[in-house]
Symmetry: C2
Subunit: 314 residues, 2 copies
């Protein structure tokens, strides 16, 4: 005879677009979690206790011992640090920080405090990723091509922070591709060259070409109008694999695999978080972020046309 | 009764300025090491077997099981990989690579091959560093100011590679300061903001300002004519410490410490390498390089005047 565990209380911090689109529905559909509170200066979720001050929330609700941070990377460290200092388990949206050193600091703090830190990479949970990974175990990878082209005006309308230092520019979507690549490749690769296009009025790149060892190449572009492309195509000793739509579809030698019963990226992330907390483990893999830092360090810089969200201004 | 060990054979790869100025004298003065061969397309050392092809050297001299690489960072990875594949112990000049991911790849390979990998940071061996570190253990650090200002025309005359992607620009000397900082501070810090000045005709910064947590600030500038400055000044709960001349001098509350019997940076590095090989250990600390990658990722970019080594061209 077995009993289901009662749902575990969790608080969401940062009620913006990604929280509303993904985190809230995933938590509300889960039997493992109870969305017990939100913390946000501007947003809230109907029927859920709403706080606008994080310190006050931590003091008022010691019973909520898991916190998921959906803030932009720039303010996230201070929230994560406070949550860990208050001995809460913490889940971070991607990327886990503005800098590698700050994530290492959070790792040390989580270990000292004896709590879970989960640096989540939602694209790794896309429907085709686990299947692609298991296919590649049996094959020798001859090369890969990543094509990640989307319209920043559509996905980040008016969000100037993506072009501020720490906002990562086109590396923000690109790191999703790198999170899949680093998950599925049997052998790690490293960057050997990169070219970064910086709009002359912006501090982060709007497009990038990355060349890795192992004949792995990536093209990221945030100026793509019309059809959007998030593809990873891999040539192997036994034919080709292609992950399309950001990993949602998998083709093996041109034939689509059946991935119909996949729970979705964010439900899978929260299932993973529940498992990590239950086991008393952390999961912080910085490989995708290291590739971005390497590209920003090694990349050849090209200045390109100014970018404004409102085209009439340009 | 004890017997001194016979000197261990070592090969130097890359006979340029740093090899002649530092590595060769350190090895020739050491009773632990025998400089048994050099590998270089252009340089050699009088009285030492000279090779110009690394593969041929590896095949011809299996008895030389330790290799020190003094090449610029761009070609260094391929040499390090070949040396580790041939089961040689490897010592790397700073910085240990062009990218973090390539150094992680070398770490994995060294572990697999069961050989030593030493990513050396020569400035950590400067006369005042160990003394400064031990002083800081007893004190609370209130803040630190790094001032690293030198003339690139003097220290890298005509070496355009320092301004090519991967050459790091002013981060090349600056990482020496960061290697000392990360060695002596009792608690790690992380970058919160940076400003990078790129000459409009160059791919790497010529000057940088880095702001870290803990009230730690660094200014790097490669345009310093006249007096050169390599200082780290630290305010603590019990007064001030200052490392000057790149760590060669230590002042405690304004009074110079006696550091007269220090063996020198490169002799200390080779003593450390001998110890690592004898113990079967590796030493790869990427903290200084992570701070540079973080600055290149997070830094606000400012375009500044073009730079030419020959001033008459400007």
């Amino acid at each position: 005879m077995s009993y289901a565990n009662p749902p575990r209380k969790i608080a969401l911090v940062g009620i913006g677009k990604i929280a509303r689109d993904q985190h809230v529905p995933a938590l509300q559909a889960s039997s493992e979690w109870e969305l017990a509170a939100t913390v946000s200066r501007s947003g809230s979720v109907e029927g859920v206790e709403a706080h606008d001050d994080f310190d006050a929330f931590l003091a008022a609700r010691p019973d909520i011992d898991v916190i998921s941070l959906c803030l932009p990377p720039q303010p996230r460290f201070d929230y994560a640090r406070k949550a860990l200092m208050a001995r809460r388990h913490v889940m971070l949206e991607k990327p886990p920080g503005q800098t590698l050193a700050e994530v290492h600091a959070l790792q040390r703090l989580a270990a000292t405090q004896g709590v879970t830190l989960f640096a989540s990479w939602h694209s790794r949970m896309a429907a085709g990723v686990a299947a692609a990974k298991s296919r590649l175990v049996e094959r020798v990878v001859r090369g890969a091509r990543i094509t990640w082209k989307e319209d920043v005006r559509k996905w980040h309308p008016g969000q100037d922070w993506v072009f501020e230092p720490g906002g990562m520019g086109v590396m923000d979507p690109g790191i999703n591709a790198l999170s899949i690549l680093t998950e599925i490749l049997p052998e790690p690769v490293h960057l050997v060259a990169a070219e970064l296009e910086f709009p002359e009025n912006r501090h982060t790149p709007i497009a990038a070409r990355l060349d890795f060892t192992g004949n792995v190449r990536a093209v990221f572009d945030w100026r793509q109008e019309g059809p959007q492309t998030w593809d990873i195509e891999i040539e192997t000793s036994k034919g080709s694999l292609a992950l399309r739509d950001g990993g949602a579809r998998l083709e093996v030698d041109g034939v689509a695999e059946d991935l119909a019963d996949h729970p979705g990226e964010y439900p899978s992330l929260y299932a993973r978080m529940a498992d990590l907390v239950a086991r008393g483990q952390s999961d912080v893999d910085l490989a995708p972020m290291i590739h971005v830092a390497d590209a920003m360090t090694l990349g050849r810089r090209v200045t390109t046309a100014p970018f404004e969200f409102d085209k009439e201004k340009t």
